[in-house]
Assembly symmetry: C2
């Protein structure tokens, strides 16, 4: 039994005591959040259209908004409804995730289940289930199995989000195939003028023709309300984008179509994902919300002991620094999996060669990393991209200079794992055909985690990264990987919706513009102050932080990572993931051993989290307690503006002694000047301490706190 399951059961008894169910037939009904701050009203229009509206502290958040599903082959489910039953429940339970930002998560909501019936042309009923938490609303459509509703094809979901004004919004363009755009911050009304400029080049992109943005969509109202719209438990359904009406400030669901333009093949009994609206007047509450996780199903895995937080390095960043090394082994430009690669001329720059990989293994072992990712180990990289090629990789044949057995044996002898890399080139049917063989291969050599990649246009051709078929594929891979006790870190997949609760071996995803783009034009200094409010709402991100050599001109070219060195340290706390990379080259860490110590120390799985201060687009400061250890880590970041972070240590146990190591930007540092200038100081802290710390433009602060003996405190100043 998983810990998750165990906790669910343990709390069920308490749970039932809170149940209060009753039935009513009125066409309007109101529920409130447990703390009464949020209120949701369900109502049918005169035409029998379902609607909902949401208020926070009596201020409207979502004005009356319609709900419904347009279908292709059966009558649509948009109007003509009457309410035939309603039920209300209260749930208050606590559960334990396999890994996470906190050891225990409280799931506390008031629920309204509305049963709607259409009598024409044939009697048919659906449910809408609302769950109102203190931190927001989740609702979904449920389609019970019934005589007149067995199969249907979705033409479009018509869920509206009628906003109350021209909010500030942090957005990327709706696109069926990529979420790797840079964010734009604007008013909703400004989106039409900005959307073309925001549509920067990304591989395999397919921007939606109509005005739309992606979720998680983060907004702020003029009177200081924070609203985040996303979805939870995206299973067997296409991902939702949001159509934008920039005049009426109405957003509405826009599902990802398949190869023939359909938006979902449904067989009852089934349901939509949850539509989520996280709301608060404090930005920190948005980051602290566990609403999306709570709306996902507990895992069904019986054994989760093999799923482990992982800190890793990799033969990876060297592929991005100009000309240093290459994924491909040879000088060929046209290769087949049946070719004999030993006959090809090596290009002399192949990164995944035995000697280089051994160097990484040595470095990982010396510095306590769990694993070494090696990209470019397998044949096929010479022409893997851009040809919509089907048999592009086989996932089991190494290049001639990569000795799978010897390297794994060497790594294991030093207590390190190699991390597998399966770039699919989005040739997904090819990947599925070879999956069992690939996972068997991993088991044979002792790999326990795989980074998957979905770069390029999907095969089956015409399908989209965000479509129902691909949504199911990612879950198929996670499920199959679990059978082999393999953890999965997917890149270029659909953005997460909390499914790491259900499939805890799907430990992280990319699904946003990550560090690699620092080597391809750079990321704006505010990018990582937005990501926690957008991409990370759905789940952990393999952002691959830790670049110390931010000025990449030393490799040639003029690329630059737009942060200070210390901001890179802070990411290990601000960007939650149980899988964290130290992405820079080993030699760069060797030049800054004192700063590198933070990366070596920092935890990646947590007992608790305190979001100290946050404003999307401006700054984020988070403190966390390491799982099972009396160690705390704090990360604070800012955008292009310097600021003073305030860190309150009241999360520390009272009456004990701690030493804090504070990694701070130098006064004359900034993301584009002196980014490697920093200070490190050790001070005494306790639960009453408060730190006011200067953060440079594009900079950050990182703090580690450890409980120490009195002796160890000697000579240290109090904060």
């Amino acid at each position: 039994m998983s810990t998750d399951q165990f906790r669910q059961k343990a709390h069920r008894i308490a749970l039932f005591l809170f149940f209060c169910a009753f039935t009513t037939l009125v066409n309007a009904q109101v529920i409130t959040s447990p703390d009464k701050n949020l209120s949701m009203k369900f109502e049918l229009t005169a035409k029998g259209e379902p609607t909902y509206q949401l208020t926070f502290k009596k201020k409207p958040v979502i004005k009356q908004s319609k709900m419904g599903i347009a279908t292709q082959d059966v009558p649509s489910m948009l109007e003509g409804f009457k309410v035939v039953d309603t039920k209300q429940n209260t749930v208050d339970e606590t559960w334990e995730p396999v890994m996470g930002e906190q050891k225990m998560i409280r799931n506390h909501y008031n629920e309204l289940l509305v049963t709607l019936e259409q009598s024409e042309p044939k009697a048919r009923h659906i449910n809408i289930r609302f769950r109102l938490f203190n931190d927001g609303l989740g609702f979904r459509y449920e389609f019970p199995q019934q005589e007149n509703l067995n199969y249907f094809v979705i033409e479009e979901e018509h869920t509206e989000f009628n906003l109350t004004g021209d909010h500030k919004i942090f957005w990327i363009r709706g696109d069926y195939n990529t979420n790797e755009y840079a964010y734009t911050t604007s008013k909703i009304s400004q989106i039409p003028n900005l959307i073309e400029k925001a549509t920067i080049d990304v591989h395999a992109q397919n921007p939606i023709d109509t005005l739309s943005v992606q979720t998680p969509s983060m907004m702020k109202t003029d009177d200081g309300l924070y609203i985040n719209i996303h979805e939870a438990a995206l299973v067997n359904y296409p991902a939702m984008h949001l159509n934008v009406d920039p005049v009426n400030f109405r957003m509405s669901s826009h599902l990802t179509p398949d190869a023939v333009g359909n938006k979902g093949y449904m067989q009852t009994e089934t349901q939509s994902p949850w539509r989520t609206i996280v709301v608060s007047d404090k930005a920190t509450d948005i980051l602290a919300s566990r609403l999306i996780l709570n709306l996902n199903e507990p895992t069904k895995y019986e054994d989760v002991s093999w799923i482990k937080p992982t800190k890793y390095i990799g033969v990876w960043w060297e592929y991005f620094v100009n000309g240093k090394s290459s994924w491909a082994y040879s000088t060929e430009t046209n290769v087949k999996l049946t070719d004999d690669f030993t006959k090809f001329t090596p290009n002399g720059r192949h990164g995944a060669n035995n000697e280089n990989v051994r160097r990484y293994i040595d470095f990982a072992a010396e510095n306590g990393f769990d694993a070494v990712l090696v990209e470019g180990w397998n044949i096929g990289w010479e022409d893997w991209f851009g040809n919509w090629k089907e048999n592009v990789f086989d996932f089991v044949t190494p290049y001639p200079d990569f000795d799978v057995k010897a390297l794994n044996d060497y790594a294991h002898s030093k207590g390190v794992k190699l991390m597998m890399h399966h770039e699919t080139s989005s040739s997904v049917v090819n990947y599925e055909r070879r999956l069992d063989e690939a996972f068997t291969f991993m088991n044979k050599y002792g790999y326990d985690a795989v980074k998957t990649g979905y770069v390029g246009k999907i095969i089956p051709r015409g399908e989209q990264h965000d479509g129902q078929w691909m949504v199911n594929h990612y879950i198929y891979v996670a499920n199959k990987a679990a059978k082999y006790k393999i953890m999965v870190n997917s890149h270029e997949a659909v953005r997460p919706t909390g499914l790491h609760r259900t499939y805890p071996n799907w430990i992280a995803q990319e699904s946003a513009r990550g560090t690699e783009f620092e080597a391809m034009g750079g990321l704006a200094p505010d990018h990582t102050t937005i990501l926690p409010f957008t991409r990370l709402m759905g789940g952990p991100m393999d952002y691959t932080p830790g670049i110390f050599q931010t000025d990449m001109s030393i490799y040639g070219g003029n690329q630059r990572v737009n942060t200070t060195l210390v901001k890179q340290l802070a990411y290990y706390v601000t960007m939650y993931s149980p899988l964290q990379m130290a992405a820079d080259l080993p030699e760069n860490y060797e030049r800054f051993p004192d700063a590198f110590q933070f990366i070596k120390d920092v935890a990646v799985d947590w007992d608790n989290t305190w979001v100290q201060e946050a404003e999307p687009g401006d700054y984020v400061t988070i403190a966390r307690k390491a799982k099972g250890k009396n160690e705390w880590y704090v990360g604070g970041i800012t955008d292009e503006n310097s600021r003073t972070a305030t860190i309150n240590f009241k999360f520390l146990p009272k009456g004990k002694n701690f030493v804090a190591t504070i990694y701070a930007d130098a006064k004359d540092a900034s993301w584009n000047k002196n980014p490697q200038k920093y200070t490190i100081r050790k001070v005494r802290v306790d639960s009453k301490s408060k730190l006011k710390q200067y953060i440079a433009p594009g900079g950050g602060v990182a703090v580690s706190v450890k409980e120490v003996s009195k002796d160890e405190l000697k000579g240290l100043k109090k904060l």
Copy 2:
């Protein structure tokens, strides 16, 4: 080493003696067939367009016709060519198929290889390879790997077949998803007026918008020339249909598109399938042609000993006779693979139940059949069709009333195999995901053959049965099945192109309108006189003959099989397949034991074949010698008109004694009156005998000939 490979090697020495290669740079070149009857001229137009033309006995067959490939992403390969090299070869070799119509096949042709170069915009060359046999022409495009040609996407192939006049043509409409139309016989010029009427309802059909017909396309000129256009070795390329210009009598290639409208993803070195034109002034030569097989590659399978000719019965026809039994087990209309089917209410008509299957096994064992096909054995049939459902079958879970182990054990104890059935419902990715598990399951229980089905719309959605992706899928299945020593009989797959030479475990296909349609409106009496000239040109057909109870009104309804009983016997000889079914219900065979004897006796694999008389749409009479036995079988069929078949026994060894058993229609029999009236007589025959045999309207004749001792001839009349 396979027999095929062995024979290829054995004859290679002889082969090289015939080689005569030379090089020339002229822009026109002529080759002739070994017997000089056929002449092919290759020529470039003034614009540098490749063309070919073909004559038979100095009469034009194909007038000058252009060749070329339009591409999407690189410059097209249509014009601007010059000839930079030509080579001629002669090949004369003999090879042995694993199974076939004759033990040894002669492969004798003169070859012209033309290397064409385009200089603009970048130097690039392709080859066109022509092989001229005594029975026709094959040619293909070859794309060598080169600096300026690595990957390309085909927009359309532009191969023309400029015919000399308004030929009679036996045609079905071009359709990307089905070849199960009924044939129309007309002039080419009449196709536009007839095409809508010819577009009868077939599941998942997708008729081509433009005027087109399918291959193999059988034509007859006014002056008695027979022309058959098809293709050979369809691998990694979409199937070709033929655009029809009904005014200029010009046909041209029309490839099947994929989900996004592309027509082929090519990586050099590669090639197109062979385009084939079989020509003769004798219709019997068309049926005797082995040109398509000769243009396919020898098998690469190292062991073919497990591939065996198979005569089988099956729990199958009872699904087509009104209401008798059903594939589905329960009364449900909405099922999932995760459902517990033991909890469902049985519908009381499930065909694949233990008792019924045992009855079939007993009948098979008693009558010497190799196998019993059982359809409807596995869960999912309740709602398998019409929902474009992905997880429709799992191929390993039997219905509660089908005991896989017990039934296989029972069958094996009686020397009979069960034959597996994998209906995919065209959910092809689902099938591929489960294929290893399904084949492992077959091995476990001792199944050695599978009938696959592709009914419905393809998943990946938007792909077509005849597209490149599906073409590769069928081969993927055949190849994977071979690893498990499993034979494959595919239904609803792309029509065959001789690939059973390369993949001999792909022993038969349906891929045309077969016996099942007799239960769904009936087949025209001339249908099976056309099939050998069309569908069967590509390979063996699992036509499922042998229906004795042709008047199906005894089951209710008014369906009728439009043949006499004897015509059903004749099919075992006229419709070549190493896999032959006796499709009727056991109880119907028990009522006609004397006629049934022919089905029990007839061979399904052959040492030799003599096409005695044939006219497409009218009649076919074929004699064959059983493989490795001194037994001969003759089948003759006619269309709706009675006729007198002439069977010449000169194929028998001279100076020996034989007894012929002649199964003949009664004088007053016909397809719609007295179809079960027949006579059986035994006579003495020798190599000088000639039989003139009356065949009733819609009827046939079947003859078995065995060598006997002189004693056994006593009392028998001479023919």
